[in-house]
């Protein structure tokens, strides 16, 4: 039974799924049901050190850089419309091979061309982030954040982080003003 988190909550992945070595972080939202420009949402992951910054630009995993240098984190590709049931975008993380100098993986979603299309997260329905155990495809934790979204155009959905030798997941649901560029810069990526 997956743990359902609310904003700010956290769970120990290692305790919930003993022997866990690899996870899939699934992100989803519903395609718009009204007429007009589709929402193109992009998921990205920031591999961060203790100080909350990336080591290099290669630690910013997004649609133009789908895989980390060591292969431990991989974005499986862009879904342009949010159509279909289940995860719209997924990020695979091989926890066992994440380099020791990385402390956490922060997962964010941004709305592509939000300003031009006059879109924001308040217009996106049924958004979630979930963590799935790759070994048995069982969902370990989930965070439904629709009601935590409003006028933001970039949002940190959640993060997977090390804590006392365990891997934990935290439900963040925090908006960020500006798009993907400013978000990346805040994590020390030069863009």
């Amino acid at each position: 039974m997956a743990v359902s988190l609310s904003k700010g909550g956290n769970v120990s992945l290692s305790k919930e799924a003993p022997g866990l070595t690899a996870i899939t972080i699934g992100l989803g939202w519903d395609a718009r049901s009204t007429d007009g420009a589709d929402f193109d949402l992009d998921a990205s992951a920031f591999l961060l050190k203790e100080d909350g910054k990336v080591r290099t630009g290669g630690d910013f995993i997004f649609y133009n850089n789908l895989k980390s240098a060591d292969g431990s984190v991989e974005h499986t590709g862009d879904n342009l419309t949010g159509a279909g049931e289940g995860d719209d975008e997924t990020i695979k993380v091989n926890l066992a091979s994440v380099p020791a100098d990385l402390q956490k993986i922060t997962v964010a979603v941004t709305i592509h061309e939000a300003d031009q299309r006059r879109q924001n997260f308040g217009m996106v329905s049924n958004a979630f982030i979930r963590v799935v155990n790759q070994a048995d495809n069982k969902e370990i934790a989930r965070f439904d954040l629709s009601e935590d979204m409003s006028t933001e155009t970039a949002m940190i959905f959640g993060e997977v982080y090390r804590h006392s030798g365990e891997w934990k997941f935290k439900a963040i649901g925090q908006g960020f003003s500006g798009g993907l560029g400013p978000l990346a810069r805040s994590f020390g990526v030069e863009v």
Partner: protein
Amino acid sequence: MKELVKGQKQKLSELTSSQKLTVSIKLSWNQGSDLDFSCFGLDEAGKLSDDQYFVFYNQKKSPEGAISLSDLGQDQAKFEVDLEKLPIKIKRLTFTLAVDGASYVSGLGSSRLTVADGQGQEVLALPFSGGDFAQEKAVMLFEIYFKDVWRVGAICQGFERGLQALLEHFGGEASDGPQKKAPQESAPPPPKAEPAAPVSLKKITLEKRGESKTVDLSKKPGATTSFHINLNWDQAEKKGWFFKSKADLDLGCMLEMSNGAKTVIQALGGNMGSKTQPPWIYLDKDDRSGAAADGENLYILKPEHIRKVLVFAYIYEGKFKFTELNARITIKEPNGDEIVIKLDNPDSSNTFCAICLIKNVNNNIVVSKEEKYFTSHPQADQAYGFGFEWTRGSK
């Protein structure tokens, strides 16, 4: 007072503790075409599972009165909501706006939706204007919804097709879209489950002049699309010095086809129209006495070929007045629904009444109540811009 922007959400408790709310919509609109304000009371799945919670001009109250529409004007409406009275099954109230005719919501000027609490204090405002919309004819403006607690949200999104698209969106009509949440059991799905009953708009009464109803022809491929217009009136008798006379009310129409052809169908002059060739509009009989229970009937067999049809009634050489006849027409739509138009502002001096206008707008048939009185055919023609040449006729 809090101002919301498109997409913004907020817990209601952060605005007010009041459960009685007044949602007022004031528009700046100079496009001429009609505006429909509605409130959809939806279930947990976001569907209109109970028609009685579709509050609009023809149903101004939900059964227990938790939602009511008041102050309905050309460009404004006010909804009174009592969340405490609302049945538990209603989880979402969505306030919508639809425009008729060739206009789009993007034609709006600076407009505003406000929410006031039980004391009349404004607690929230949602300013919007045409720039917030694209080529949309029916939009969801605002919602009050229950998810753990009552919340409000500014939506300002909608559909290119009018009210019908909104009804479909909320009506749960069969959709070919992505399947949601397949049922757990592996049993094969029952053969074509009954789609949720489409919203029935049966027996619509157009009460005010200018009020209208849209019938979408493109929705029913292959199905019959004809309109049947019936004129009836109460029998009246006048005792003269030597003889009795009965009221003779005649039904007719001025029409313009999509190819520009124009004609007048009426008993006077003997043009009864045709069933088999253009304009595919005909009168079935001339009831001189009003004695036949079914009155007079006009059929529009191929509404897709019309541009506009002005349905009128006139008193033929009678000593009667519209005030004595209680005349009304009933329009049967292709889908079986009926539109009723009563002449409830009768004029005692004029003998010609333009009752309703039927227009084809992008293959939607828009029926609007006119009930305008004229002294004669030419005067009405002039008002509606058909441009016929008139000569005197008799039957």
